[in-house]
């Protein structure tokens, strides 16, 4: 009985999770692997990539999404991430990234799928900003996405400590409901992991959805 309750609670929690934000770093360092997961109420995604050299990473990605009243569509593909430009400043860093997958869509929409995106991010040890645009297309399918994020850390930390951040995200996704998702989130970063917990559209009854994002580098 207790186990059934646990499973039911877990299922309920997962069903309420919403599409998550993007992290600043889309890849690790030279000769490293990175695992990213984004679990959402309307969308879920995971990606595993490997960086043979700084600035390039290849991997696999799977994303699942659905519009209102639609059957879900799952895209499975090969992913590439490229660092187009990086600015290393005395107390800040800014990047322009390309990221995208090509693969197959199955579900509500079927066929060849592609998801090119561009991302700009800038951060210091206290402030953070990100802008991202991504096409998510397959025959007759359009889930194009745009997102803005901004945040601040509560205090500076040492290299071996966990730093908490507050991040606010505004995101739109075509043919999704709700079309505009506002997510305040708490982000925890240390050298082993990146975790983010947020609530999408906290004022909205049906749109209200907890959100989880995690990244690990090996």
């Amino acid at each position: 009985m207790f186990k059934q309750l646990q499973v039911a609670f877990g299922t309920l929690l997962l069903s309420q999770l919403s599409w998550s934000a993007q992290a600043a770093a889309l890849m690790g360092f030279e000769d490293s692997a990175m695992l990213m997961t984004e679990i959402g109420r309307y969308n879920q995604e995971w990606m595993l990539n490997y960086s043979p050299t700084l600035g390039h990473a290849i991997g696999v990605e799977q994303m699942r999404m659905s519009g209102k009243g639609e059957q879900a569509t799952t895209i499975s593909g090969i992913n590439y991430t490229g660092l187009i430009k990086r600015w290393n400043m005395p107390a800040a860093q800014a990047n322009v990234w390309f990221n995208g997958s090509v693969g197959e869509a199955r579900g509500q929409f079927d066929g060849f799928a592609y998801t090119p995106s561009l991302q700009f991010d800038a951060e210091s040890t206290r402030l953070y900003f990100l802008a991202k645009a991504r096409m998510i297309r397959a025959p007759h399918m359009n889930y194009d996405t745009a997102a803005l994020q901004s945040g601040f850390s509560f205090y500076e930390t040492g290299f071996n400590q966990t730093q908490p951040w507050f991040v606010l995200e505004a995101k739109t996704m075509r043919n999704n409901d709700p079309g505009l998702q506002i997510t305040p989130a708490i982000r925890l970063i240390n050298k082993h992991y990146f975790l983010e917990f947020g609530i999408t559209n906290p004022w909205q009854g049906e749109g209200f959805a907890p959100r989880l994002n995690a990244m690990f580098v090996f």
Partner: protein, 110 residues
């Protein structure tokens, strides 16, 4: 008199006997521990490493070398660049990594 001579002898021998070489650098772009993990991983992989230290706030990366071993400035810079960052200043000091860490912590408290 004999004691003074022995003390004098030890005081002149000590620096040579315990010579420490540490590469201390200021690194640009190092703002997040998750992202800067690559620096630590690559420094730890160096066989010449005695100890290493990374500090985000002061932007300091330090590599204490094993006695009698060396890493060229170019090789050190490449480690930082391969991790995605750039060196803005580099020097060789005779402090241990522990001493640099204490110095950075003290400066942070002020």
């Amino acid at each position: 008199m004999k004691k003074y001579l022995i003390a004098l002898l030890f005081s002149t021998m000590t620096p040579a006997a315990f010579a420490v070489t540490t590469i201390k650098a200021e690194v640009n772009g190092m703002v997040c521990a998750f992202c800067a993990k690559g620096i630590e991983k690559k420094l730890n992989a160096l066989p010449q490493k005695q100890a290493a230290f990374v500090d985000l706030k002061s932007r300091v990366v330090a590599l204490q070398l094993k006695e009698g071993q060396d890493v060229s400035n170019e090789a050190f810079s490449k480690v930082i660049q391969d991790a995605g960052y750039s060196v803005s200043k580099m020097e060789r000091v005779s402090q241990t990594v522990d001493a640099i860490q204490a110095e950075v912590a003290k400066a942070g408290v002020k």
